[in-house]
Subunit: 402 residues, 2 copies
């Protein structure tokens, strides 16, 4: 049996058919915020439909964030997805459902998740190599630990903001290489990092590692993520304890969360790991994701990073993050790090696209090294869906203001 | 007028007189958790007393964490402290209050704060110099940025645990300097870091820095803090993005939060900053804290770090953390980093006490380099109170289990 497509007008064959069904939190006019599901160009208002259907889990839709839904765990996630698919493909449900399909342009999307801890990895071999070549030109580009573990660090959860939030150019200390002392002022090297974020639903106990094979038992879904970075602030501050103010001013995520089940057709083999990782990082079968990313700057596509080129898999990131016994909470967010492919037009940061600011690159009729005030960045993501077409993941937009 | 002492039995002249009044969250038998205040060896059950007194803010006591109280802001904090001081010093309140004084040994103390973001600084010149000398013996001990900004990084908020939580020895990757590849196993260099933590009450807006002069408008109080560290895991992982799994398995905080007002008599001048910091880090008047710390290992005091020796002040940490526009949330926790004084017996980590594990130090009749299973660490903190004696801050205890 092939999965049928949706009866909702315009949904069948679109990037938002029933093989996608991302979750978000929305409000309309003065109504209470609640959970909705995107189908075609509509938001399904799941609260009244689930109540009418006397769904056990209907309470998870009457919430201001996805956290209660995510906390229910993988059996509940699957059962909700089956229920939604049934509603949106079975013509006999039309009378029940149709009154609760709200055109997208009538709603405001709110932050989807209350973020617990935010961790950012550094999982792209090409990105890490590019950064190494720029900053340590006389040395091996990769540091000794890079191929042995997915390098990562904690970021600031409180400044994770939803797509569309204006990005205020941060000020801070930076020091030119030949200066004797730092100066204070607005960052002159404001950058993006095109990333993918993974949202944890089911928590884990302190002291108990979560193995790579348990990835789908804990991770609820994915978001688009832009890890805005002030390279000059970062370069001065980051030794020896890592990035801090160069990153903590804002991290944007999409307003839609794509459930992991929507990526069933997107799993691919990793490009290959050499040396073989330690046993706790071993993965069986396809552990990479065939997700295409587009980086748009002021309306021009400037890069197309392929997620399939990432060295470390998300399941390995999860296993590494918890191998010391660190617990997971509902709402934990971990991100891939900049997605860069091997080719120049596949680089996921302006640092790499402009090779450290030395090679301005074309943006339509204009050129850029780093971001200028008024610049608008949109990250878009697509993946193969289970119906044969491509699904669209949540996009992430942001405009730089002074 | 001198402030009178408390009528509560045993409180007057003790480290828990009315010049202290730390807040905590407690439960007794099957009763609901709620906020209490320590006086002498009792917990004042503030909920019924504030209700009987028809206090506007009585609802903040009927909560499972201090966050709602902390979110009220500095005017409310002051007004509650005045009310509590009145109750506990005015003999005419005795009939109202005495039935609601619960002996400490009848209650269980719960985690006091829902931690939002956790940031750890590196503010001790002696600690940073000691670490530099050990790890980079041929270079200047302090890195170039250290005297220009309070170096810090984000830690894992989800693994901040209350005093008394057993500390499971973490496993992870570590590589001996002469080995060609890392191995996996339990940390062999498990350490403590004796620190002081600052808890944010009043939030701030994204994009708006909080100046050093606004410290007391945002910071509610202080906790004792032990930043458990697996030095072998940390040494292998931390380049270039900083500490991650070497720290994220557990950070212990005290179960009592001492309000900032209790430290009014503890402010002292900083030891001196050279070069003068940039203007956004300038502080007026006494910005350091005269807090004495005791590190007890298996019942023996092995170190007495003086907080007054810290180079960077807490107000400077706050100003730096937000200068890029990063917002504060109620429950944000930032810690000082290891407190070490200039003398050997003032070092706040075993790494320093054993000089990188090379010089075992005495613990009673025993010796130690790093922590062994079954070792019990207690950090104790005292400061001058406003009544002429010393107040005790919340202690932090933890035992290592395999």
């Amino acid at each position: 049996m092939t999965t049928p497509t949706s009866w909702v007008e315009g949904a069948a064959g679109s990037p938002y058919d029933v093989d996608n069904l991302p979750y978000g939190v929305f409000t309309r006019a003065d109504e209470d915020p609640r959970v909705g599901v995107r189908i075609g160009d509509f938001v399904l208002d799941a609260t009244p439909v689930s109540a009418a259907d006397m769904l056990d889990l209907h309470h998870v839709f009457e919430e201001r964030s996805l956290n209660p839904l995510m906390a229910e765990g993988p059996l509940a996630w699957r059962s909700l997805r089956q229920w939604l698919t049934g509603l949106l493909t079975d013509e006999t449900e039309r009378d029940l459902v149709e009154p609760h399909l709200i055109p997208l342009d009538e709603v405001e999307l709110l932050p989807p998740v209350e973020v617990a801890d935010y961790v950012d990895f550094y999982a792209s071999l090409d990105h890490a190599s590019n950064v190494g070549k720029m900053f340590r030109p006389d040395q091996e580009p990769l540091l000794p630990n890079w191929r042995h573990l997915p390098v990562g660090y904690h970021g600031r959860a409180g400044t994770v903001v939803p797509s569309g939030t204006p990005i205020v150019r941060p000020s801070g200390q930076r020091k030119a290489p030949d200066a004797t002392a730092p100066t204070f002022g607005p960052s002159a090297r404001l950058d993006i990092e095109a990333e993918l974020g993974f949202v944890v639903g089911a928590p884990s106990a302190l002291g108990t590692p979560v193995g790579a094979a348990s990835f789908a038992d804990h991770v609820f879904g994915v978001v688009g993520l832009n890890d805005w970075s002030a390279r000059d602030i970062q370069a001065w501050e980051y030794v020896p304890l890592g990035p801090f103010l160069g990153k903590s001013f804002a991290t944007s995520i999409s307003r839609w969360v794509t459930p992991l089940a929507a990526l069933d057709a997107a799993w691919v083999d990793l490009p290959g790991q050499d040396p073989a990782p330690l046993p706790y990082l071993a993965v069986d079968g396809p552990a990479g994701l065939d997700i295409s990313v587009e980086v748009e700057l002021n309306g021009e596509v400037v890069s197309r990073p392929p997620y399939s080129s990432m060295y470390w898999s998300p399941a390995q990131m999860l296993a590494h993050m918890t191998v010391n016994g660190a617990s997971l909470r509902t709402g934990d967010l971990f991100a891939s790090g900049t997605i860069s492919g091997p080719d120049k037009e596949q680089r996921g940061s302006l640092l790499e696209l402009s090779w450290g600011g030395k090679e301005p690159f074309a943006v339509g009729d204009d050129t850029r090294t780093f971001l200028e005030d008024g610049d608008r960045v949109v990250l878009r993501y697509t993946a193969p869906g289970t119906l044969g077409g491509r699904i669209a993941l949540g996009e992430v937009a942001g405009e730089v203001v002074s």
